[in-house]
């Protein structure tokens, strides 16, 4: 039973990102490097936000549970903001690197376009975010143990996996849209991405009321997917061409 839960949740949470990695990233060394650097940037943002939260915790009264919870919520929102700041920083770094790559190549064009980098960077953020949320939960799900023995929800593992999947995809879409917004200097796009991220984090605060958090998050994921598709140059025409096998 535990092994089934382990594999089920692992595949739910990491299946799509693993497939994306294998089919689009694994064969291109440059993309792998950008992916891992993206993961690193997300990690840095997490580190800094944990530092801030830790200092706040240590400076406060540890006996007051509502204060602790309030500080945790503050930590969540601060972390979201920091993640977006680091996403912007990574965008700047990639732009500089892109210029460098273009300069040293034969025909003055870089091996990778900004849109591809946006996708890969977003996926890097997503994979790392998903991994950090899910891996400890997965290793605990191998058991032995009883889910919700203190009265918590029975659906902990599956909802954790579903939420992780949504967040991974969301990070990918946000990466695409964010970089596109930065390229075209459309600041409202950036503001929209940041607010959506805050919204998703806020919705997760409703857990364990899963009806309040999961469906809205998935709706947002779907909408973001559509937005990212159109933002990266897709169109209904190309979609229909794909379906009718015309290129």
């Amino acid at each position: 039973m535990t092994l089934a839960v382990f594999f089920g949740c692992a595949f739910i949470a990491f299946g799509p990102s693993f497939a994306l990695f294998v089919f689009t990233i694994a064969r291109e060394p440059l993309r792998v490097i950008i992916l891992i650097a993206g993961a690193f940037f997300w990690l840095l943002s997490l580190l800094l936000s944990s530092l801030v939260w830790f200092i706040a915790i240590k400076a406060s009264n540890s006996q007051d549970p509502s204060l602790q919870r309030g500080l945790l919520i503050f930590g969540v929102f601060f972390s979201v903001l920091l993640q977006e700041v680091f996403r912007f920083a990574y965008y700047r770094l990639l732009r500089k690197a892109n210029e460098g790559l273009a300069a040293i190549s034969d025909d003055d064009s870089s091996a990778i376009s900004v849109r591809q980098m946006a996708y890969v960077a977003g996926l890097g953020f997503g994979i790392m975010s998903g991994a950090f949320s899910m891996i400890n939960v997965l290793s605990d799900s191998l058991g032995p143990g009883t889910v919700g023995i203190f009265g918590d929800s029975q659906y902990y593992f599956i909802t954790a996996a579903l939420m992780t999947l949504a967040l991974t995809l969301l990070h990918t879409f946000w990466g695409v849209v964010f970089f596109e917004g930065c390229e075209k200097s459309r600041w409202w796009v950036i503001a929209a991405v940041v607010s959506l991220h805050l919204l998703v984090a806020g919705l997760s605060l409703l857990n364990p009321l899963y009806e309040g958090s999961l469906p809205p998050v998935y709706v947002i994921t779907l909408l973001m997917g559509v937005w990212a598709f159109f933002s990266s140059g897709g169109s209904l025409h190309s979609l229909s061409a794909l379906c009718t096998r015309k290129t």
Partner: protein, 423 residues
Amino acid sequence: MNTSDSEEDSYNERSALVQCESPTIPSYHQDHDMSLPQETDTKRGRPVSSGLDEPGLVERERAATPDGEEEELTLKYGAKHVIMLFIPVTLCMVVVVATIKSVSFYTEKTSQQLIYTPFKEDPNSVGQRLLYSLLNTIVMISVIVVMTIILVVLYKYRCYKFIHGWLILSSLMLLFWFSFMYLGEVFKTYNVAMDYPTLAMIIWNFGVVGMICIHWKGPLRLQQAYLIVISALMALIFIKYLPEWSAWVILAAISIYDLIAVLCPKGPLRMLVETAQERNEPIFPALIYSSAMVWMVGMADSNNPDSGEQHLFILFFFIIYKHFSNILVLFTKRGVKLGLGDFIFYSVLVGKAAANGGDWNTTLACFVAILIGLCLTLLLLAIFKKALPALPISITFGLVFYFSTDNLVRPFMDSLAAHQYYI
């Protein structure tokens, strides 16, 4: 002597040590070249993974090119080389982490310690523990410095046959004894009943094929696999026999030593590199193993009432040398080379992160940090184009991320997971 246009050309154990006598076989050249770096990883700082080059790529790189083109080739294939290093480093770490998490033997602390870390850490007193770990580190680093100097001297005076013999003896010990121990512990963990004749056959085959692959020739992938396994085995021994705090201080100290030994004009490793380049020889003949063997012989005589694991102390010495291999990252026409010692110390760091508590986030953070450090090191290599120490950046990142993730990120993520908040 094999004079060739690049040091990796026809680099193999024999040609490195026995001058002019065993020319490399041309048909095997390309692959061998690539596998060589793997094998040479066992030598000081020999960059590894060049073995992953495809023959096609080697062809291109082998064509004589003027400097400008060469530079562009360097940068153009840079990403590919980085990935070629990422893969073996990742595999080694995966093997070490998988073993640490499943076989409890390597995380059980014994009262035995290696003689190179003579001071026993007392878990009760923080000050004393810190002091003793510093003292252990000083002992270990001085042993390493002495050994390096002996090696450089031996190399300067061309005692190649001696060195070669030692190399063979030490890899014999590693391939047979360590893998026997490892297999024994795996069987104990999974409660597999194994009879001695079957075990002898398995170990014999494993060891002999390993010796042939590493010291003579063999399929490229097999050579690479053996080198990864060897590095993983050594990293596991390090993880088991180094005391807790000493291990961290040693990691930090070795990165600093690495930096000094490679970059300072009078550094022993730099002298080694320069001597080898003057003689137009591959840089790292099997020197490293030699000193290990001396000590091994000496130690075998000690009367020790403890069990046979004392041999490990000897072998440990052998390990110290591996460290040298990591010191250098070299860009050559065939690609980048990374020393085996690098593999070992990266895996030690990640393995220790995995061994402490059940937290996978720390392990993952250290893994990403080390890979990024490696990436940056390779970037510097592409810019400066000379032998560079491979440890400092990665180990610094790894240590910073280990301690910060363990103390700051872990409580944060645990609280978030408890409430199922997502960031």
